[in-house]
Every structure is written in C-alpha cells, then in structure tokens.
C-alpha cells in the first residue's frame, strides 16, 4: 500500500515536471577578450542611434505635412517619407555594427525611446523652408557623427584605445552619405531659390501630375522660365 502511494506521488511529480516548459538555455561562458570597444565610444554610438531616430521622426512629420490636402506637395511628401525611412535604416546600421563588435548584450531595452516628446515643428511655410530645415538637421547629424569618431579615436578613459575600424566605418559609410546628401539638398534649395519668383506660381500649378511634365521642361530650359 505504502509503495503504491509513493508510486502515485512519484507519477504526479513526473507529470508535473513534464508539463512544465524548459524555456531558457544555460548560456555558455564565452571568452570576451575579443570585445575591445571602450565604454565612452559605445555610449556615443548608442546616443547616435537615438539621434538618427529623432531625425527620422522629423522627416516623418515633414512627409505628413506635405501630404495634407491643403498643402498638396506629393513629390516632397514622397521625398521626406523616404528620407525618414533612410534615417531609420541608419539607426539599424549602427545597431548592427555594435552587435557585430559584441556589444548590446544587455541594456537593449533603453536603446531607443518608446516615449517621445511632442515634435517642435510640424508646419513648414513652403517646400524650401522644409529643405532648409532638413539641411540644418543633416548638418547636425554630420557634426554628431564626427563627434562619435573623435571620441572613439581618443576616448577619455585612459584606455587610449583608438578604434580604427569604427572610425573607418563611420567615415566611409556614414560621412560619405552625409556629405553627398547635404550637397543634394543644398542643390535642391539653390534650384528652387533661383527659380523662386516664377516657382511660386509654377509650383502652385504643378501639383497636378499632368502638369509636372511641363514643369520639367521649363526647369531644364531656363530661358523659358
């Protein structure tokens, strides 16, 4: 009798154990000598991720503004929505880089804010004003990337660890795109400004798609503007 009870008890215990899930695995100890990024540099990189997201939000607001029925600049809306997605991609590229270097093993939850303050500007008087704002934003991002590079080359933590690879990556991938992008926006502003007198009227009548064909012709032949 006693043995039957014991057996039943054992059976209950076994079934209880087997219905419970074993959800996690024990993480093996991995040598960490290969992880050589230093704290000040990692912190700057993390801040840069949020900055890229902030720029992305700003362009999202620009896209939303130019999509409005009573603003109606579908071309600019498309341009800014694409710019917003591009900034988000930049943030993801920075994340991927940190992962590649063995970072972001912890503290990921606070990497990007999921609460935001209200955006300071959600209205632009015209497309040129938005482009100028965008150029300013890009210049700030460029400055900020340069700062990340400089911190990562000479971190102030006595390690004197010059992160050659990161500097090269940021210079080659990010600064390259920043400078080209800035030049592109500046060129767009210049075009718009040169044609500004006629642009106001022209642009106003150009929102309808068919009309844009004519506009293009006019843009490419300055003598007719």
């Amino acid at each position: 009798m006693k043995s039957i009870v014991a057996f039943a008890f054992l059976a209950v215990v076994i079934s209880a154990v087997s219905s419970e899930l074993h959800c996690t695995v024990k993480r093996p100890n991995i040598p960490n000598d290969w992880i050589d990024m230093v704290r000040p540099c990692v912190e700057e990189m993390k801040k840069q991720i949020q900055k890229e997201i902030n720029a992305s939000m700003k362009y999202l607001a620009m896209g939303a503004h130019f999509s409005r029925d009573t603003v109606n600049r579908p071309g600019f809306a498309k341009y800014f929505f694409e710019a917003a997605s591009e900034e988000r991609e930049h943030a993801i590229k920075l994340i991927k880089y940190l992962l590649m270097r063995g970072e972001l093993v912890s503290g990921v939850s606070k990497l990007i804010k999921t609460s935001f303050d209200a955006l300071p500007t959600t209205h632009w008087n015209n497309a040129v004003a938005a482009l100028e704002d965008a150029l300013k934003t890009e210049a700030e991002v460029t400055k900020s990337i340069r700062n990340v590079i400089s911190v990562c080359e000479e971190p102030n933590d006595n390690s004197r660890f010059n992160d050659y690879h990161l500097s090269d990556y940021l210079t080659g991938e990010f600064l390259e795109e920043q400078y080209k992008g800035q030049r592109d926006i500046a060129g767009k502003i210049s075009n718009s400004r040169n044609l500004w007198a006629t642009m106001v009227n022209l642009e106003n009548s150009c929102s309808i798609k068919n009309c844009c064909k004519q506009c293009k012709i006019k843009y490419s032949r300055p003598q007719f503007v």
């Binding site: 959800c23 991927k96 609460s115 935001f116």
Partner: protein, 226 residues
C-alpha cells in the same frame, strides 16, 4: 479653471462660426474669382474646398492614435530583434522575424499617415508616453509578447471599425471601415495565427525534454529559413 472653460467656450464659438461660414467650394471659388468683391485673406481656408467628408472629424483622433501605436510598436519590435542579434543570444531567426515585424509596422505608420491626409486629416505628433518595458526576452516569451502586441493592435482596428460602421453617433464612414478591413484586419489575422502557430510548436518542443538547446536551435533555424 475658469480661464480654461472660457477658452473652451470661445473655441467652441469659433468652431460654430467656422462651420456656419463653411461655404460650398464652388461658391467660394466664384467669390474669390469675382474682381470687385471685398475678399478675405484666404477664402479657401474656411471653405469646403478640402478633402474632408463623412466622419473624418470624429475618427481622426482614433486614426492618429492608431498610427502612433504602429510607430511605437515598430520601435519595440526593433529592440526585440536587436536583443536576439547579440552574440550571446545569437538567434538569427528570431532577429529576422522581429525585424520583419518592425519594418512592417513602420511601413504601416507611413501608410496610415498618408490615409489620414488623403481624407483631409492632419497627423498629430503629440507626446507619446509608453510605459517602460523590457525587450530582452527569451525565445518563447518574445513570441508571447508579440502575440499580445498584435492582438492589441487588432483590437484598436476593431474599435475604429466599430465607430466607422455605427450610424447613430455620426461617426459612420464606409471608406474608413473598408480601409481598416482591407489593409489591416486581414493582415493582422494572418500575423496572429502565425504567431500562435509558432507558440504552439515551440511549447511542444520545449515540453519534450529538459535539454532544449537543440529544440531552440532548430526552431530558430526554421524561422531563419522562412
């Protein structure tokens, strides 16, 4: 408080005046084109020369909230994906799955903004406060969280739809109810079923043995190959 209520009164009054003044678009245009009439600075602003009709006025805040919640979820999924991408977790399949969800929520945010403006609405970027959460989750826990997130998103869609089909309180708007059905409800149902399938599968695998390293590895490999 007194100040607030009087401000509210003025705002309401202005709203009523604006509403009374709202002329049909053609009449506005005709007035604007008449040469010797005393013109307002911009007569089009207060007219009906816009893309607003139906119940956009009633549903606009809901749609803005829906777009905002997509934006927040896209960042949440990005963080979940990031966690699985570190060398310690090293779950490429999970990383890919959540990156996909993040991308899709991001694209939907833009689509929702476009649709709000298509209907003459304005996307409002007001402050968003989300309770701080933990996004560093273990495998099956992350799937469970994703399922909760998707169900909550589906619930938001249902609430908008419910308002848009209700005729009594002037929030009836077939265009919006159709849009929600077509673009969100259908896709969401697929995602919810997909996630539930993953959870069923993985929980069966995890119940089978105490040494689940292999199970998790195979499951991750499966997600990676999708």
């Amino acid at each position: 408080m007194k100040m607030n209520s009087s401000t509210l009164f003025v705002v309401c009054l202005l709203g009523i005046i604006a509403n009374v003044n709202a002329k049909e678009c053609r009449a506005t245009i005709q007035d604007a084109c008449r040469p010797y009439i005393n013109k307002q600075s911009n007569p089009l602003l207060e007219s009906t020369c816009n893309a607003r009709y139906g119940a956009i006025g009633h549903l606009e805040p809901d749609l803005v909230k829906y777009a905002t919640s997509h934006l927040v979820k896209s960042f949440e999924y990005l963080l979940m994906s990031t966690h699985f991408g570190n060398y310690d977790m090293n779950r490429e399949g999970f990383e890919k799955l959540f990156r996909g969800y993040s991308d899709s929520k991001w694209a939907d945010t833009i689509e929702l903004i476009k649709h709000i403006t298509k209907r003459g609405g304005k996307m409002n970027f007001s402050p968003i406060s989300t309770s701080a959460d933990n996004y560093e989750l273990y495998e099956i826990e992350s799937l469970a969280k994703a399922l909760d997130m998707e169900k909550s998103s589906m619930n938001d869609a249902y609430l908008i739809h419910e308002r848009a089909i209700r005729k009594i309180d002037s929030s009836h708007d077939p265009e919006i109810s159709h849009y929600i059905e077509e673009e969100f409800v259908e896709k969401e149902a697929g995602t919810i079923r997909e996630l539930t399938g993953y959870i069923t599968e993985l929980s069966q695998m995890l119940a089978e043995s105490e040494d689940n390293g292999l199970a998790l590895h195979f499951f991750d490999d499966y997600l990676k190959g999708l």
